[in-house]
Amino acid sequence: MMEAKHIEQQLRGYILENLLFTKDQSVLKNETSLLESGVVDSTGILEVIMFLENHFGIKVEDEEMIPENLDSINSIVSYVQRKRAA
């Protein structure tokens, strides 16, 4: 099973570089809601999903596109872990 730390680092790197355009790790906390804090808007979340599918070899099913799975670094990390374990 892929280590949580590894997933987190990859994901953080992606979000910082492609959505926040910075290298400053401190601008994003693991528990921050991506939608409520404005890191992504309702269409921007699709970019994150594309990244998850390409990078972690998972397929995000329609019914899985819910805030509980995708709205923070923490929730995405555990979602990806669950998917990869399945």
Partner: protein
């Protein structure tokens, strides 16, 4: 329309501008008024005028004097009720030498003083110099259709229809961005007058006049948007009565705009309700050939050709079309920014710039447009969105209420259920603030603010501690909270976007770039006062936008146009620059780290990262955030390049056909 400019020394005659400086100043406005140039000068004041002749072509030259030579005017715009005002003034004993509205405006000022502006129905930027009292009055129309910039210095005031004329006067004037103007732009999509985008240059607020007397300035509002605060102030009739009254008011507004011109008046046709209705009313108001103009898009997503052609056929107009490609947008942007004189966050102004060129090529100087209807009659999605979110906020646990969002954004109902849950999280932000001023616009403002991620340290520090949203909300009228929620939302929309963006970057500046005057029946003061007094449910009936206007249009426009869902006017944004072809060379240069660093607004690493991301993009559509950031950054960089790093070029060879120089003995 025309261009006006001037310089007034506030306390004593000190700097006499050289003739070449004045020529350069007025020449910078020659696209606004290519027909004639005029100058007035005395020991303390200079008024300049670039004329686009529309009324009383043989007379009406400016600057114009009031009979005894005490008052002088430089005037840009139209006073549509000048004939009625002239009758009133005649009855008061005034005589007139011309048939122009300029003389009426001047005479009205002589008679009523600054009270006169509240009597005008029109669009204007006016400078009046009282040579005896040594007093300068600047005034701007109710909604800010005509532009007017002011640069105040300790001992003199410089004003002009466009910033480039101010810069053209004096090369020693500092040219720099105002960080607060940028902060407003990257929050509201626009500056809000009086805030300007360049340091030291402000904009006269719509509905205001300013008087300079003895070295001091005072500013007054002659008009402000008002809405009913109780049932007794509302229009009391039925919906049918409102439809009938609106028809009469709008017909009268359109007639004035068609008939009070000594040249042909055409119309834009977008394919939507608003322009179709004014075109239909316009066609009826004048018997001569009626010209209509439409833009088509190569991208099917933005194109409305079918509807435009159907409406043109119904009108029997001489219809001209202009096909807009992505390459056209990319090629024209630099020139467009020279005219917007401010950053833009989407490319929508560009096709309007190209369309006015087409109008001019057809020999037409004046067009009607449907601009203003969405503000005045509540057409935008933001009004419906706010209504749904307030309804939802009253019972946030409801599963049913947020599903109304699908009615607003049909793409949501076609999206997977899960994605709807994500959208719900997004639109459900700050629901507990539903009763607070600004609730309607908070989502838009926070989405736009994502561009601030690109700020340079310098820009970030310059605006640290300033809160432009709070500043806007702190200045709301005292009665604001007593208005209906819809009125509150409409007011915020008008104040934050109408003058600063819509009437400027998608209005006057794109039209006047090619010497075309726009006329806006929906912004006739009588139409607006009437609409503002209507109960909210007549404008936004449940979720049906512009309800009363649709009823009014039913008799004259095809049912298919009436029934179609409102299509927001958009054009290809980032995709115009990045796609099949290499980005233009100028763009590559502007996005380079040296250029970004030099302009100082954005962080070069962040911009470099965005640029790489966009260049490597292989999908179908950029995200909203990336589109806005890319266009916002490139337009800011262009603005820096063309207005700050270099001085805007102006050809100083101008022949003054009107020349009153009292300093030459």
């Amino acid at each position: 329309m025309c261009g006006i400019a001037g310089v007034v020394e506030l306390t004593e005659a000190k700097h006499r501008p050289a003739d070449e400086q004045l020529a350069a100043m007025v020449a910078a406005l020659s696209h606004r008024g290519p027909d004639e140039f005029g100058l007035y000068r005395d020991e303390r004041a200079v008024l300049l005028h670039a004329r686009l002749s529309i009324l009383d072509l043989s007379a009406g030259q400016q600057p114009m004097a009031h009979a005894n030579g005490r008052l002088w005017i430089s005037f840009n715009g139209e006073i549509y009720n000048y004939i009625e005002l002239r009758e009133q003034l005649r009855a008061l004993g005034h005589a007139f030498r011309t048939h122009s509205d300029t003389e009426v405006a001047l005479c009205a000022y002589a008679q009523w003083g600054a009270e006169c502006f509240a009597r005008f129905n029109g669009q204007w930027a006016i400078a009046i110099w009282d040579a005896q009292q040594r007093e300068l009055v600047l005034s701007r129309d109710h909604f800010g259709i005509a532009p007017l910039y002011v640069c105040e210095q300790p001992d003199r005031v410089i004003f002009a229809s466009e910033v480039k004329a101010i810069f053209a006067l004096d090369e020693t004037l500092p040219r720099a961005f105002d960080p607060l103007g940028l902060e407003q732009t990257f929050t509201f999509w626009s500056i809000i007058p009086p805030q300007g985008i360049f340091k030291g240059i402000s904009e006269l607020r719509p509905g205001h006049y300013r008087i300079y007397r003895n070295g001091a300035a005072t500013e007054h509002a002659y008009w402000q948007p008002r809405f009913p605060t109780c049932r007794a102030e509302e229009f009391a009739g039925s919906l049918d009565a409102a439809v009938a009254a609106l028809h009469d008011t709008l017909q009268q507004a359109t007639r004035l705009r068609m008939q009070r011109a000594d040249v042909p008046v055409g119309s834009y046709l977008s394919g939507g309700l608003d322009s179709s209705l004014v075109a239909a009313l316009g066609k009826d108001a004048r018997p001569d050939t009626f010209h209509t103009f439409s833009m088509r898009f190569e991208d099917a997503e933005y194109d409305e050709t079918d509807y435009q052609r159907e409406m043109a056929a119904r009108l029997g107009s001489r219809h001209a079309e202009l096909l807009i490609t992505r390459a056209d947008i990319a090629a024209a942007l630099p020139e467009v920014i020279e005219h917007t004189e401010r950053p833009i966050l989407r490319t929508a102004p560009v096709p309007l710039f190209l369309l006015s060129r087409r109008v001019r090529a057809a020999g037409i100087k004046v067009v009607l447009t449907g601009e203003g209807a969405d503000e005045v009659f509540a057409g935008y999605d933001i009004f419906r969105e706010a209504k749904v979110r307030r309804f939802w906020a009253r019972f946030p646990q409801s599963e049913f209420r947020p599903m109304l969002l699908n009615r607003l954004y049909p793409y949501l109902s076609r999206s997977p259920v899960g994605q709807q849950a994500m959208a719900r999280r997004f639109f459900g932000k700050n629901l507990d603030q539903w009763d607070r001023p600004g609730f309607s616009h908070a989502l838009r403002w926070s989405t736009t603010a994502s561009i601030k991620r690109f700020y340079s340290e310098q820009q970030r520090q310059a605006v640290a501690g300033s809160d432009v949203i709070k500043a806007l909300l702190d200045e709301l009228p005292a009665a604001f909270k007593q208005w209906s929620y819809l009125s509150q939302d409409q007011y915020l929309e008008m104040v934050s976007l109408l003058s600063g963006y819509l009437l400027s970057s998608q209005g006057d500046r794109m039209l006047m770039a090619h010497s075309v005057e726009g006329r806006f029946p929906y912004l006739d003061i009588n139409v607006v006062e009437f609409a503002n007094a209507l109960p909210a449910r007549y404008k936004l009936k449940v979720l049906d936008e512009k309800h009363v206007l649709k009823q009014c249009a039913a008799a004259v426009i095809p049912p298919r146009i009436l029934a179609r869902k409102k299509q927001p006017y958009r054009a290809p944004d980032a995709l115009a620059f990045i796609g099949a072809e290499r980005p233009p060379g100028w763009l590559e240069e502007l996005m380079e780290s040296d250029s970004v660093q030099q302009a100082g607004v954005f962080n070069e690493q962040a911009v470099g990262q965005l640029w790489r991301k966009c260049r490597n993009f292989s999908g179908q559509q950029f995200s909203n955030a990336d589109n806005m950031a890319l266009i916002g950054i490139m337009s800011t960089q262009l603005l820096y390049e063309r207005f700050i790093r270099r001085r805007p070029a102006a050809n100083p060879r101008v022949n003054f056909t009107t020349h009153h120089d009292l300093t030459v003995k």
